[in-house]
């Protein structure tokens, strides 16, 4: 596999504040790679360094083989960026935004038209392309930004909190587009999020907290760190079943109005055993995998928290709300 992103001991200090603490990682071509962590963990700072917007204090990184310090223009051409904050010109039409992007990235005019039609179709905005962006909904703007980020055939698409401020339905749509995109363009996607459920869409996730990577694995691999699954059970006679399970399998069973619950390693393999050994009739059984929330809590000792907001964050929240059209 081709390593498309190689990060080696990247560090960023802002005065006395250590925002990113010597992180190293590799992303393979075609992966959806996620950066998961709370606000202020250093996700956006890392993306800014990788996209040459910010100079690292120390360490290096290569994107598509280009060094972020020595070859910033080559790096910039190889990546597409969708920012956390909107960066469309809302007084312009979608087309104008795209044409300007193509000009900035040196996409030849002939190819430009073809590619614009292609990316607009991909995000379902073809019929709205001559409308001024101001009239778009929050979800449409984000889709247009994704389309714009793809216009110059980047090899890595950075999505910084691509669905923040969008409603759940729109978020699902955006994810639909991202998956479709990967199929079609064989592009690598490097994204950040602080939504646990979204991180599930990634092939691999780096969990970042206080500027450090605390774990890096597939979502399933990360969840295995927690160990075991939660099984919930309803039977014809819960009391009898509880006693039997405790005796036969040596696990502690909790009983409540919903039925019986217990944690067990390899839950999937356990369920057939349960059916074979339990005499009491089973009405229903469910298995809940540990969520990434459980993983984050276990690894960091705290839940993903909302940071205290600075003036700039407030301004940011305001802009987001305004742009989302609430």
């Amino acid at each position: 596999m081709v390593k498309i992103v190689e990060v080696d001991n990247l560090r960023k200090e802002f005065g006395a504040v250590l925002a990113v603490k010597d992180i190293s990682l590799e992303v393979e071509q075609g992966e959806i790679f996620g950066f998961l962590g709370p606000n202020g963990a250093g996700k956006s700072t890392t993306i800014k360094m990788l996209s040459t917007l910010l100079k690292p204090t120390s360490g290096t990184a290569r994107l598509a083989g280009y060094n972020i310090a020595g070859q910033p223009n080559e790096v910039r051409r190889s990546i597409g960026l969708v920012f956390q904050d909107p960066s469309l010109d809302e007084s312009l039409t979608a087309r104008e935004n795209l044409v300007f992007h193509a000009m900035l990235y040196g996409v030849p005019p002939k190819e430009r038209e073809e590619r614009m039609a292609e990316v607009l179709k991909m995000v379902d905005l073809s019929d709205r392309q001559t409308d001024v962006v101001k009239t778009y909904s929050g979800g449409m703007k984000r889709r247009l930004e994704i389309a714009r980020g793809l216009l110059h055939y980047p090899r890595v698409l950075f999505l910084d909190e691509p669905t923040v401020g969008l409603d759940p339905q729109t978020r699902n749509h955006i994810w639909g587009y991202i998956h479709q995109l990967r199929e079609r363009e064989k592009i690598t996607i490097f994204m950040t999020t602080h939504y646990m459920d979204e991180a599930e869409n990634c092939d691999r996730i780096a969990i970042i907290d206080h500027g450090q990577i605390v774990a890096l694995d597939t979502p399933d691999g990360l969840k295995r760190l927690v160990g075991g699954e939660v099984i919930s059970l309803k039977t014809a006679d819960d009391a009898e079943a509880a006693a039997a399970i405790a005796e036969k399998f040596g696990v502690q069973v909790n009983r409540d109005d919903e039925g019986l619950h217990f944690e067990i390693e390899n839950g999937e393999e356990f369920i057939p055993k349960l059916f074979a050994e339990l005499r009491t009739r089973i009405r229903s059984v469910s298995l809940r995998r540990p969520t990434l929330d459980d993983v984050f809590l276990k690894l960091t000792g705290h839940a993903i928290r909302e940071e205290q907001v600075s003036g700039k964050d407030r301004m940011r929240a305001h802009v987001r709300m305004r742009r989302a059209g609430h």
Binding site: S91, L104, G106, E185, K186
Partner: protein, 267 residues
Amino acid sequence: METGGYKGYSEAKGTNRLLNNAKAVYVIWLRELIRFLREKARIVTSLIQPAVWLFIMGKGLGSSFAGPQGVDYVKFMFPGVVGMTVLFASLFSSISIVWDREFGFLKEILVAPVSRTAIVIGKALSGSTTAMLQGALVLLFAPLIGMRLSLPMVLEALGLMFLISFALASTGILIAARMESMQSFQLLMNFFVMPMFFLSGAMFPLRGLPAWMGVIARINPLAYGIDAMKSVIIGLHEFALGTDLAVIIVMAAAMITGAVALFNREG
């Protein structure tokens, strides 16, 4: 190497790179121009302030005071009001960088494979173009105060407005490069821009002022800009037109150089 849809526009070297940067300047300039022309409401409101100055302040003061050398006061202040429009328009256009860098289109430009120099020049050119256009609109008030402007006069004024705007827009960019929030802009307006404007000779002649004011006026670059506007429009001046132009050009060159240097150092 099979790399999916990647076509790679990464061969830009030498003249190609220069061409790309020229294109970037054009994109930035064109974008601002489209915005300007599209926001009709902003154009109209930008005319309110000069109208208030001319028709209320100008006429009001003019009914009690005469301008120097027997010129009607309102006519005397007309070039100053044009200058004021250009001043605010060009400064505001470049100060918008502060906002735009964090929450707007400028961010898109900052990550594009174009040089910081191209961005600063594009921004300065677009700021001066839109400021010149706003100044040009104020020239339309001339007949209303009984002034006749000849075509050469208008052309000279336009050229001059562009030059002054370029110097001011570059100054604005230089300031914006290090400015964190829009609040600082308000502070700057009150403590720096307004005094600079009042001591530019726009509202009263610089002759016969208290000594300290005279000194400040002489080191105020805006005074030379206003003086040049006056030479062109009403034929009154304090300094030679050549001196005025030299000061403005030197200021423009110094400010744009500084802005480019500061933007290149960012990040």
